[in-house]
């Protein structure tokens, strides 16, 4: 059962619909305790970083406990940004801090003579970190971007973005490069909207659903760890 964290930030219904199309069982726990039963957690979101302030201390603790227990977690857009330490968009609202770095505003302007509009709205390409290329199937970890072709177009809508650190699994260029997908163990984040990115976006969500199913089946497989 995948738990969708509802903090009133927009795209929950679209994510629920996409997961339903993939045949995933979804729950929307009313209280943080509901995360204990989850085999996967998705933090959706779109809009202003200040909205994440609704995720209070109890929710933060429950999410951190779940991550500590190895539960796969996916943050989407604002939900990805929340995984970092904080954002210039709402300096008084701390992020969860499971990934190092801060969210900053994309600069826009006219690099190389081409005008870069902010917010970054529309379909843009993923440039994969080398280990995410499909030609490298040796990784033992479940990968959020497994079998996603490099250069795939995803739908973005945001003005703030995550820095490129060693957690970066894919980058995208809009004026400057930013982390469009991040990965640390079984904690993932995507700046794009997989629920709005057509078949290739659904394939990303399907990878997460598979990771959650594998986590659910860990007892039956002798507690195998990735």
């Amino acid at each position: 059962m995948i738990a969708l964290v509802d903090y009133g930030a927009g795209n929950l219904a679209s994510v629920r619909k996409a997961l339903g199309a993939l045949g995933a069982q979804v729950t929307e726990p009313r209280s943080p305790g509901g995360l204990r039963e989850a085999t996967g957690i998705i933090v959706p979101g779109v809009g202003h970083f200040g909205a994440t302030a609704s995720l209070d201390e109890d929710w933060r603790d429950a999410v951190l406990d779940a991550i500590g227990a190895g539960t796969p977690l996916l943050g989407i857009c604002l939900g990805m940004q929340w995984l970092f330490e904080g954002s210039d968009e709402a300096p008084d609202t701390p992020g969860l801090g499971v990934l190092p770095g801060r969210i900053t505003r994309l600069p826009g302007g006219c690099p190389e003579g081409a005008r870069v509009k902010i917010p970054h709205v529309g379909w843009n390409r993923l440039e994969m970190a080398p280990s995410d290329a499909p030609s490298n199937p040796t990784s033992a970890s479940p990968r959020l971007l497994a079998r996603i072709p490099p250069g795939s177009y995803m739908y973005f809508t945001h003005a703030y973005a995550a820095p490129i650190t060693d957690a970066c699994a894919a980058r995208t260029v809009h004026g400057q490069a930013f982390a469009s997908a991040v990965e640390r163990g079984r904690v993932w984040g995507v700046q794009f909207h997989p629920e709005k990115s057509g078949p290739v976006g659904l394939a990303v969500l399907a990878n997460f659903v598979r990771a959650a199913a594998a986590y659910a089946g860990r007892g039956a497989t002798g507690g195998a760890r990735w």
Partner: protein
């Protein structure tokens, strides 16, 4: 290198649950079932879908909700809904039915704070301000009420105001070009696109792949919207995108 794709957007003008299309905002004719058309465009590689209720009234808004839900059910790309969005509650109703963005026009001209209120509740990315403009001397005058009532706003000034109030995108329709299939108004589009930082969607006049190439280059459009050219199968989405790609205009193929 710019990798952000220029978007092709299919517009479904809906009335009483059916897609209709007119010329210069007049003379509506039936063009099919909205959900079936949206599914077809999705298959063909359209980047977004817009549903505009062209005859929005109180009782028809319930029908619109059903139409939006039917269109959204199998669509995993962005969906914008407009037509008769007068209040925050109207916006919430169509977003609840499955829209990702709402398009506001006449009501925003009457009360620009509507833009800000929707942006505060759902984020700027959910607010598209639709502007219907026609040539008047050297400038462009904004009209309300589906292009019927001229306002005191110039297109550039209103677009800037909309951006300042929290609009995430501008959907800019040339009343002069709409339905003619003789090309977008590139002068209008470029004037607005250079005046604001947010994306501008050009609308009205698409008749060929060349028209899209023109509005993406000289017109500086970030996206282009069309209805008839797609409905009538005059050009497939894919063939237009291939034409653009061949001319080094970035598109999602």
């Amino acid at each position: 290198m710019v990798t952000l794709a220029r978007r092709l957007i299919a517009c479904l003008d809906v009335r009483d649950g059916r897609v209709v299309k007119g010329v210069n905002f007049e003379g509506l004719r039936d063009a099919g079932d909205p959900a079936a058309l949206a599914a077809r465009y999705n298959e063909e590689g359209i980047d977004e879908v817009v549903v505009l209720d062209v005859a929005a009234t109180l009782e028809r808004r319930i029908a619109l909700r059903q139409t939006v839900a039917a269109v959204a059910a199998r669509l995993f790309i962005p969906l914008t809904v407009g037509g008769g969005i007068r209040t925050l509650e109207d916006a919430a109703a169509v977003i609840d039915a499955g829209a990702d963005k709402v398009s506001v026009n006449t009501a925003a001209l009457a009360d620009p704070s509507l833009i800000t209120r929707i942006a505060h509740r759902f984020g700027s990315q959910a607010v598209v301000v639709a502007i219907d403009a026609m040539r008047a001397g050297d400038g462009f005058v904004v009209s309300s009420h589906s292009g019927r009532v001229p306002t005191s706003w110039g297109a550039v000034a209103w677009a800037r105001e909309a951006e300042a109030r929290g609009a995430g995108e501008i959907l800019l329709t040339s009343i002069d070009a709409d339905g003619t299939q003789e090309g977008f108004d590139g002068v209008l589009t470029a004037a607005v696109s250079t005046a604001v930082s947010i994306p501008v969607i050009a609308s009205g006049g698409a008749g060929s792949a060349e028209h899209f190439a023109e509005v993406f280059t000289a017109g500086l459009a970030d996206a282009a919207l069309a209805a008839s050219i797609f409905h009538d199968r005059a050009c497939s989405v894919r063939s237009i995108k291939q034409f653009l790609s061949d001319r080094a205009i970035p598109v999602r193929l």
